[in-house]
């Protein structure tokens, strides 16, 4: 499945955050989105995932238009995301955070809550058992029943990515997944994402300022500045592009 962006523009009261942007995301590849602060990267993510509506232009997913659909509808079509500021449900347990993602809407009605409790208790138990190995690999098994707010910053980022992956997306958008993390945690996240990519032509789209991470991890790099796409290409080409060096890499 491919994501195609055609002539996308977003204007906020006079400021043009994204300007006439065309972009194709290749499935099965890791695409990185780089550029200086205020270049419109997060705005582009918000447009794709429905948190903002574009002023002009189209977004096509698998050939179908998803422009301006609500965020929940876009997520259900297989496009998942994480946020720059971690959005875990802090008072819920780590396990509950993941269970919500894994359930993908099953047994979540009021009627189910009141009258199908036995049946639901069983599926919750099964889902739980399915998630324990994943948490064990991440070294978070002993924290799984504690509230998510007890996690460290790095662990929260890890769980947020795991949670997004648990929705079984076809495409995952990550907004600065390794910002402020130690090298060990970065390696853990890389491994997690590589496993995901290895399955069935999944697509990864990452905003990141950590250049060593970008150039060593991404297959394709897109550069934005002042709302416009100024370059795209394989990492080696981008590293030597004079416009990119001038605008961002310095």
């Amino acid at each position: 499945m491919t994501l195609q962006i055609r002539g996308l523009t977003k204007r906020f009261d006079g400021i043009i955050a994204v300007k006439d942007l065309d972009l194709d995301l290749i499935s099965g590849k890791i695409t990185a989105l780089i550029g200086p602060n205020g270049a419109g990267k997060t705005t582009l993510f918000n447009l794709i995932t429905g948190f903002l509506s574009p002023t002009q232009g189209q977004i096509l997913w698998d050939g179908r238009e998803i422009t301006s659909k609500p965020p929940y509808a876009i997520s259900r079509k297989g496009i998942s995301r994480t946020f720059q500021e971690v959005k875990l449900f802090r008072s819920l347990s780590v396990m509950d955070n993941l269970l919500i993602a894994k359930r993908r809407g099953r047994h979540e009605g009021l009627w189910d809550a009141l009258f199908h409790r036995k049946k639901i208790a069983k599926t919750v138990k099964d889902d739980r058992l399915g998630l324990i190995p994943r948490l064990t690999v991440l070294g978070l098994a002993e924290k799984m029943d504690g509230p998510a707010e007890e996690l460290s910053y790095g662990q929260s980022k890890l769980i947020e990515i795991t949670r997004a992956l648990a929705t079984k997306p076809d495409m995952l958008l990550l907004d600065e997944p390794v910002a402020g993390l130690n090298p060990l945690m970065i390696e853990t996240i890389k491994t997690l994402l590589k496993q995901y990519i290895a399955e069935m032509q999944k697509t990864l789209f990452i905003i990141e300022h950590n250049m060593p991470f970008v150039f060593n991890f991404a297959d394709w790099v897109v550069v934005m500045d002042h709302g416009e796409k100024i370059a795209e290409g394989p990492p080696e080409a981008i590293r030597n592009d004079s416009r990119v060096i001038e605008a961002y890499l310095g």
Binding site: P70, K87, S91, I100, R106, E108, G109
Partner: protein
Amino acid sequence: MGYLLNILIISGIFGILSVSLNVLCGFSGILSLAHAAFFGIGAYTLGLLTTKLGIPYWTAFMAGGVFAAFFGILIGLPTLRLKGDYLLIATLGFGEIYTNTMTNLDNITEGTRGITGIPSPSLLGIRFDSDATFIILLFIACALCIASASFIKYSPFGKILFAISEDEDGVASLGRNTTRFKVTSIVFSAFWAGIAGSLYASYVGYINPNLFTINESILIFTMVLFGGLGSIPGSLIGAFILVALPEAMRFIGLPNTVAAVIRQMTYGLLLIVIMYFRPQGLLGTVKLR
């Protein structure tokens, strides 16, 4: 003894109100000052259907809950897109509209004169017309309300409500239509407020618009905050204390006019004290943001 039973019954009715409001405020994080309006809709539905249209009691009783729930959808759909303070103001507006409508639609509601002669319930030949019998009925209603609220609290449905109160965008990004969940929680909450209204109207036998004003909404809200957002036992304790405390003050021997003012002040004072020493409420775990 009769006096104590009376206090228990009023506490029970307010217990249903505070537990159901807690599902909305404590679980979903939707602060509402419209709860007395749903309470009143239930009371008026039962009162009008039984006295004016001669509808059988139990049909009218359930209609109280259903009608309040229906208004929950009506209010929920347009207002639940608002957040925080704006939503609070919108619910406040609804409460005011409700009170004014009941007061001024007097060819139907009898205005400030109120509705008299509301019948007591009877079932299988037992009439629940005394305090001692009515409390049995109330106990059953309370038990059902508490059970359904606790089932929700620990269900997948309830987890989504708690998640929405924490971070609505996060829930949407996981593919959930958050508006649907919020409307469902207001429907549940309004239904039980309506049932509490049905119970209240048939217990007292007389209702008027002044019983279901913004003051009562604030009182129920105080019970929830006092007991703790998200805590069901907390809401029950909050309801009992805030019903019983003013009654206890009667025995100090203050004149009635002074007592009414002091009562209002006590609510305020109680809220300040609890917010200062225990911002999450007596038994709560969720802090008000």
